[in-house]
Symmetry: none
Subunit: 431 residues, 2 copies
């Protein structure tokens, strides 16, 4: 099955927004054996959208459209689709009712212009939007001579809405119709080593002629290893994928913290909530300014392992909130293993948590010195001494992270999570 | 002048790499008055590249191609271009010599496969690559009836090489041929009203035939208004942009918090640091889990206005850290205006800050009830009573935010920042 992905929007064609939807959709389609042959992007211009739909439909079996179904006058995808199909736009009653309920709950009247978001071409199927107000459209376009047809799915441009709609309404249909060769892939995530060090460990697994193919990508300091298997059957592809994934895990050991959609905070939460363990962690942050606590509470149910965090950005706050003596800060500096050790120990004791993580660093761009350049970050992990409420054992480390302020902050928080992960695995940090 | 941007590469069509070249090129072309009407992406497949070139050339005056001119067998752009032009590929002597020198300097023989990177269609002009081994191609494609022509520039896909070549060899040609038309744009950011409400306020400004053109986009609950002016001269375009931007600001008032690359925390930081004001804000967060503090410390220099934040995720933490009585929580619930009022007042007093923001809400997906559904968020802003250290005036509000956990948390933090912004502007919240 051949597919084309069409993105609609002035902001995309003019380059004000980078289109990430098309790449995401391509990966999803490839994973179920659909062959994406092209992407196209057009502006919010009805004749251009119509031509793009006609051109694409003539060349593929599956056309995914994202964008142009918002409530405003520059959203023209549904009108273009109706014109190409030679069908009138009609309201989808279920979606109209859903919209009315939605606005009722918000306790405001439905703006008249939202009504257009329930319009779909006659004969089309409405796709439910679990994250927004625009209904999607699922329709078959037949060529004039009736010799060929193209299934068209029109989705919102907002990535979260598009992804939810794709997963719920498009993927099941496409998978069922897929047949043929199967491409399956898995991504294993690591943190702590650079891309070339990871490549060195993978060695011959990285051979470009290999099937399953193994490649690495880097994002926010995380090196991810993508394994892609392409075989005649899903069973064979899955079995081969499994085997190569095991080889990758064997080469990288505990550096692999998770796979695919898993996040490090989520993996950590599961470790903390293991039966018989059920521990909590407190946080004391300086340069990360709350990012570590934010990551620890990204998922629902975080209250099982996280109760208390401090953001002590100034020295006075470190003293007033966590009892860090001015003398300690004066002697060693706010960015020092001595200070983060005290922050972690005191935060753990005050919060009465099993663990506490403390971070203090120089995120930049200013504030660096010869001995503590920008990117210098001290992290401490305090742990309750068994049977003693007050006392902690603390491990501490100093890192030098590359990158800009945002990257240094992200890597600092990720490293703190990583230190706790290795502690819970009862393994030393492997770097 | 109308332009189309064509990207060539399996990694792009299959979604393994997000195409950032097209957006970058669009912005460069828009800045010199070229109208980018579409992007297209095709795989490393010669017939597909040929068709894409023919299709695009028939619809525009300028076609920029990136990708497919590397040294390997799957690099087929130059072959496709030669086929479309009906011209043979011939080596560019200057580039061949350059390549040989290049490899001599590296002290290794030139791999035979690199020779293809010096091949260009007969009659085309070679474009120098200052950052790699592939020569670019500059050529005019004439339609069969000679009635129209399209200038084609083929560049490398590696962003650094493409950008250097574009700046050196493409931009000067395009600017000269542009005929002076200039497109300038600006984006004004708002928060607090939905897209349709913003559209209603903008009214006739949203007319699709208008120049400057006004359009809206939504990201993370922020509605942004983009104004694009297209006029013969940069001066005129800038003046018209200014005038329409003023009309947009007049229609939206203080809802507009900033423009272009500005961020809300940055705008807020500037307000807090105005001469003669220099105030600080403390934070007390429940459902946002540190996100508000993180936003307030995103930029360097945050220590001027932010010293202390609490993440009191559990009821016990609210009691132990901020002195919120168990009784208050039992009577009104942790998500209540009474509790956030106390959190804000106590946080402000403990941190001795001019202001404090407190957030408590139900971010979901679980935890909702009939009276407090998921998305219910209470936010309070405490302010020092002039001349009194201990006492605060507190304003508080309850919101119902749509979306998933992440969206609810982002909107909550953004709304807290917005409440402080309006307070510093000495204006009531306009919603």
């Amino acid at each position: 099955m051949k597919a084309i992905i069409l993105s609609v929007g002035d902001e995309l064609a003019l380059g004000q927004t980078v289109d990430t939807n098309s790449a995401w959709l391509s990966r999803q389609l490839s994973a179920v054996g659909v062959d994406v042959v092209a992407h196209a992007t057009v502006r919010d211009d009805q004749p251009a959208i119509e031509r793009a739909i006609r051109d694409a439909a003539a060349r593929c079996d599956l056309l995914l459209i994202s964008g142009g179904i918002g409530p405003t006058d520059d959203d023209l995808t549904r009108q273009a689709l109706a014109a190409v199909l030679h069908e009138p736009l009609e309201p989808s009653q279920p979606w109209l009712e859903h919209l009315q309920e939605f606005f009722q709950k918000l306790d405001r009247p439905m703006p008249p212009r939202n009504r257009v978001q329930a319009m779909i071409p006659r004969g089309a199927v409405m796709m439910f939007n679990h994250a927004g107000t625009a209904a999607g459209i699922d329709v078959v376009f037949q060529s004039g001579d009736l010799k060929s047809s193209c299934r068209i799915f029109a989705m919102p441009g907002v990535p979260a809405e598009m992804k939810a709609m794709f997963a719920a309404a498009v993927l099941p249909q496409v998978s069922a119709a897929g047949g043929g060769a199967a491409i399956v892939s898995r991504t294993l995530h690591t943190f702590g080593l650079g891309e070339s060090a990871v490549n060195d460990r993978l060695g011959a697994l990285m051979d470009r002629a290999r099937n399953p193919l193994v490649g690495t990508t880097v994002s926010n300091g995380m090196v991810s290893v993508r394994v892609t298997a392409r075989f005649p059957s899903v069973d064979q592809a899955s079995a081969e994928l499994e085997q190569t994934s095991e080889s990758v895990r064997a080469a990288l050991g505990e550096l692999v913290w998770g796979q695919d959609e898993q996040t490090l905070p989520q993996v950590l939460a599961e470790l903390m909530q293991q039966p018989g363990r059920r521990v909590t962690v407190a946080t004391a942050e300086s340069c990360t300014g709350g990012l570590l606590a934010k990551l620890l509470t990204d998922r629902a149910g975080s209250s099982a392992h996280f109760h208390t965090g401090w953001v002590t950005y100034s020295n006075a706050a470190k003293h007033d909130r966590l009892g860090i003596s001015e003398n300690l800060i004066n002697v060693y500096g706010a960015v020092s293993e001595q200070v983060v050790e005290a922050m972690a120990a005191n935060a753990r004791r005050l919060a009465n948590a099993a663990y506490a993580l403390a971070i203090s660093g120089i995120a930049g761009p200013g504030g660096g010195s010869a001995t503590k350049p920008v990117g210098t970050v001290c992290i401490a992990l305090a742990e309750r001494v068994p049977g003693e409420k007050q006392n902690s054992v603390v491990q501490k480390r100093t890192f030098l992270f590359p990158g800009d302020r945002e990257m240094v902050r992200e890597r600092s928080a990720t490293m703190a999570l990583t230190m706790l992960r290795f502690r819970l695995l009862d393994k030393p940090l492997p770097f």
